[in-house]
Each structure stands twice: as structure tokens, then as C-alpha cells.
Amino acid sequence: MVLARVEGLTYRHPEAERPALEDVSLELHPGELVCVLGPSGSGKSTLLRALAGLVPHFHGGSFVGRVELGGRDTRRARPSELAGMVASVFQDPEDQVVFTQVENEVEFGLENLGVPPTEIPRRAREALGAVGIGRLAMRRTPELSAGELQRVCLAAALALRPQLLLLDEPTSQLDPAAAAGLLELLAELDATVVVSEQRPARPLEHCDRVLFLEAGRLLLDAPRETALEWLAANRPAYLGRSRSDHREAPVTGDPILVMDEVAYSYAENRGVGPSSLELARGEVVALAGPNGSGKTTLAKLAAGLLEPQQGEIVRGGRPAYLSQDPGRYVVAERVDEEVALGVGGDHERARAALHTVGLTGYDDRHPRDLSSGERERVALASVLVTDPELLVLDEPTRGMDPERKNALAQLLRREAAKRATVVVTHDLRFAADVADRLVALGAHQEAVVAA
């Protein structure tokens, strides 16, 4: 029995030069957990949207081939008609939330599907409980962290009890424990689940099948074991085989950052408790910890974007901070102008920075026309171009494929001697590749030097 079938799908976005998907054919069977891998911009998100009927209905463009869901041709059924049979969670949770209260948000889809009113609250509560945020039911969505919001979106999708669940990087903002819990939950679902991931280690442990897309073409569609062999031979980075080797002792120089018992609290009781951290030139430190543990607050304090309410910070050099939202680096109309903002419009340096992050030739593109992974690299170039002595990167690998992560790790290691570097990350594999030390913030916001 086939739940969904894609036949010879070639899709081109409006005004795009090349197709986002090219001659893609596949079948999805009930109960399968399918992992979709591939570089940034390879067509993973477009494939998920095609399976939900959003491509072409919502996005327009040229669509050749056929996609069937439960025997229905997606060109003839509107996405809203397919809702319920299929549910989607997109990459950016902030752009998906309709209501201001968590419970209402989860109930929204159930109401649209015409679920009997008496069932709606129970199903909403069950879904919230399943993703571990039952306690947030009455909270306001604008006050949630990105990781919490991502789980709200997952709950909203799970509440629909879909036959096909499409998840576009659902763990990108979750801490490792939450991500592991989510993947275990997905593996237990009766539904067919298609997960696009850039942290593939755990999905590869749980999935039944792997799809690998590159430049819109489906290079691999194979059961897990076969796929692991293929990945080992062709794309080892996806198996977490790092090419970075920095096991030698770090070359440390003058102190660049000394944080002594600093604390900062927001009005809604989030923030970071008294924490101390020291970094010398040449050191790369990874900051890890659960969602809401205060990593971003500590990073902003380190970079001087927040003033501590308690404690003292001494910096021995000029800081720069990379926000975890690459959507904040779209102020200018062209990529090179965006990157040059930090160096007074010096386009020469901007081009060099773009080359460093692998975006040579992107100078005249509009930042909003880029994929999420490419935007992340523009953001990185915008910060690296300033040549800071203290570099603070907040989730720099979000939306970045494993090969790019390796390249970033190598870049940070190569340039480590120039500065002190703080990397906030949920990606412990990346942390192991790039950092000399891991500082783990506990759930109660105390700083613990782990290794």
C-alpha cells in the first residue's frame, strides 16, 4: 500500500533560473520514518511542500509530474483539503504561530478540521504532553524561547493525528535531550514521518529509509543500512565523520574575556544566574545547555549587547556577535552591501569574507532570495568581516548542512589564533569539532565547566 507517490516531479519556483526539484520520483508507505538529507538549497523543503500540496498551490511556479496523497492528486486538492491527512512543521516556528496563547494555537488546526468540540481540548493537551510542554499550555507564545515555540508547532501538528507528518528541521532549535526525545516519539508514531534534518546523526539511528537530494535531484532513496553505506562512501560528513583535527593543545595568549559572577534576568524570570567564564586569545569555547538555560543571554553579555545586573566583565578586545536568527542580516539590498555594513562599506573586504564562507559570486544577490543555510553564511560573513578579537556565535550552524558545518569548524579553527571564540550550540558534534572546551549551562542556569 502506498500513502504518497511522487512521479517525475520537476518544479521551478517563479522566476528561478533552475528547478528546485528535478525529475524526482518516490513512494511513501504507511508507518515509515524517512529521513531527507542534502546540502542547503538542495530542494528538501520544496519536496516537503510538494507532499503537502503547498507546491504549487501556494507558491506558484512551474510544476511538471504528479504528486498523489492518499490517492488524491495534489494539483486538484487544495492544501487546506489535504490538512489532517498531512501535517507540516516548517523551519521557522515564529512565522507559523497564529494565536498568542499556546493552548489556542494547538487547538486552531483541530477547529479547522471540524473535530468535535468536546475532543479538541483533550487532543490539544495530549499533543502538548507528547512533546513535553504540557506546562506551557496557558503561556503566551511571544514569551516562549525558540525551542519552546518549535515544540508548540510540533504539538499543533501532532494534534491533527495526520497519516503523513512532514517536518522541516524540527530539531534545529532543540537541545540534544529534547531532540532525542522528539525522534524517539516520531519513531513510535503510527504515521508516516518525513524529516528533513541537518543534524542527521539521531534521525539516522531511528529512520527506516533515507533520501538524499542534491541540486534538486534525488541521488539516493534507500533503506537505512544501504543508505549508511552510501553515505560512508560518498558523503561521510553526514555520518559525523569530521575532517577537522585540532586535538593539539590550543595556543593561548592574552586574556580576551573575563566574566566574573555575572547575572542577568529578564522580567519573565528568564536569563542567566551568576556565571563565570574566562577566555584567552586562541581559545574556542562551546556553550551548551538545555533550551532556556541562558546560553544566549550569556553570549550577549560576553559580546556587550547586554550589561550585567550583577558581576563584572572585562574584555581585552573588540567583540562581534552573530545572532541566532540569520533573518536579521537582510538590511541591505545586496549581499555584498550587507556584509560591508560592518566595515564602513568596504566591498573588497566584504567579497573576501563571502569567499571565506563559500559564497563567492553571490555579491549582487538579494539576501532574502537565499536559502536559510545561505542566509546563515551571509550572517557569518557579516560578522567575520569585522575581524573581531572576541567572536561570539549564537547557533551558527542552524540550517547548515554537515559539510558546511565541517567547513565552518575548520574555518574557526584556522582563524582561532587571531581571537577568542565563543560558540553557542545545541550541536554537540559540531562543538566537539570546533571547541577546546565545553561549558555547559544547567537547567538552573549555573555555569559548569564540563571538559
Binding site: 501535517a87 516548517f90 498568542t100 489556542n104 488546526g109 478540521l113 468540540p117 550572517a379
Partner: protein, 232 residues
């Protein structure tokens, strides 16, 4: 409290403040509304309180200069074309206090509405007007979202050593803010369609039944309006 009677109560207080003749009555209503507003978290309430109180203060300071109500003259200033002679009298001060407090009371009623009510439930109470009220609910979120986005852009620029200062510096953010809100609206529309919005046969989650306090609030709202007309 259910948001519908709560909104009715706030509306009743605002209407009573507008209808009341006595300054003391308006002051009491404003004090009650201020007490409501203090139930909101400090970080969220201060822009509303500062904006409302500042507006009332400006009205109190300007209206004696512009109005002409007679009474004991406390201060006399220059004569200005069109406006005439500037002066401050006892009657003008009383009238300015009354008008300032009315403005503050209405502003505080709106602040309490914005800060304390569950807007989702209030909008959902619209029933058959659901599509329109959802559009209104999303539109009312535009400004807080733009405010948050602007803060994000400023922070990202500061993070790479670019200071955002003055009108010109902030004006640079207008274009990305507009483009960002358009992009966000498309993403939201896509998400809503993917969750079945617009499909026929929708249902509504059961709402909590009105408690006695909700009924009392509605009666109190009606009494406030009547009181505003007859007694205050």
C-alpha cells in the same frame, strides 16, 4: 474572568469616565483602571503607562493655555495671534484636570485590555465573524512584531559594530521591516492553509462557562454606564 465580560467591564469604566461630570468620579475610575494595569508584568506595562500618563499630563498642561473658562487668574502671558492672550485661571485648571483624567482613564482602559485580556478567546467569541476577527487579531499583532523585529535588527547591527543612531539610522530599518513583515505574512498564510484554515465545517473548542463573577462584571459594566449618565 472570561474575556468578554472583562472587556465589557473595561468598556463600561471607559464610557463612565467619558460620561461622568465630576472630576473626583473620573479620578476614582482612573485609579481603579491603574490598579488593574499593575497586575500586568512590569516590562510589558510600562510603555502603556508612560504613554497614557504622559498624554494626560500634556493635555493638562496645554489646555489651560488654550481654553478660556474664566475664574481667578493665576498667570497671564503674551498675546499670540489666533490663540489670543495666554493665561491660566482656576476654572481652566479644573477643566484641564478633568479632561486630563478622562484621557488617562480611557488610555488605561485600553492598556488593561491590551495587557490583561486573552485576546484569542475574545476574538474567538466573535463566532460567525471569525475570519474578520482573526484578520483583526493578526493585524493588531503587527506593531509588537515590528517592534521586536526592529530590536533584532538593531542588535544584529550592534553585534557587528554598526551603531543605529538618530532618525536616519532608524529610517534605514524601515525597508527591511516592511519586507520582513510581508515575508512573515506569507509564511503565516502558508502555515494557516496547511492547517486547514478556510475549510468548511469548522468547529470551536468549548469555552469555559460564565461564572457568577462574569455575570456580575456585565451587570457592573451596564451600571457604570447608567451611573455615568445619572450620578457620577
Amino acid at each position: 474572568m472570561n474575556p468578554v465580560p472583562a472587556a465589557a467591564l473595561l468598556g463600561g469604566l471607559a464610557v463612565a469616565a467619558l460620561l461622568a461630570d465630576r472630576t473626583a468620579s473620573v479620578a476614582v475610575i482612573a485609579a481603579i483602571l491603574l490598579a488593574f494595569c499593575f497586575r500586568a508584568p512590569r516590562r510589558r506595562r510600562w510603555p502603556y503607562l508612560v504613554g497614557t500618563l504622559a498624554s494626560g499630563l500634556v493635555l493638562f498642561l496645554l489646555s489651560p493655555l488654550l481654553g478660556s473658562y474664566g475664574g481667578v487668574v493665576y498667570w497671564e502671558g503674551p498675546s499670540i495671534p489666533v490663540l489670543g492672550r495666554l493665561d491660566v485661571t482656576s476654572n481652566e485648571l479644573e477643566e484641564a484636570l478633568y479632561q486630563g483624567l478622562r484621557l488617562i482613564a480611557v488610555g488605561l482602559a485600553f492598556a488593561a485590555y491590551a495587557l490583561l485580556l486573552d485576546h484569542d478567546r475574545l476574538m474567538q467569541a466573535g463566532g460567525w465573524l471569525r475570519r474578520s476577527v482573526l484578520a483583526i487579531a493578526l493585524a493588531t499583532r503587527l506593531f509588537p512584531t515590528l517592534e521586536r523585529d526592529a530590536a533584532g535588527y538593531v542588535e544584529a547591527l550592534r553585534g557587528r559594530g554598526v551603531a543605529v543612531e538618530g532618525l536616519r539610522g532608524r529610517a534605514r530599518l524601515l525597508s527591511p521591516l516592511l519586507a520582513g513583515s510581508l515575508e512573515r505574512s506569507l509564511n503565516l498564510a502558508e502555515s494557516m492553509e496547511a492547517r486547514g484554515f478556510g475549510r468548511p465545517g469548522r468547529t470551536r473548542a468549548p469555552r469555559a462557562a460564565w461564572r457568577p463573577i462574569d455575570r456580575v462584571a456585565v451587570v457592573a459594566a451596564a451600571l457604570l454606564v447608567v451611573g455615568g449618565v445619572l450620578w457620577f
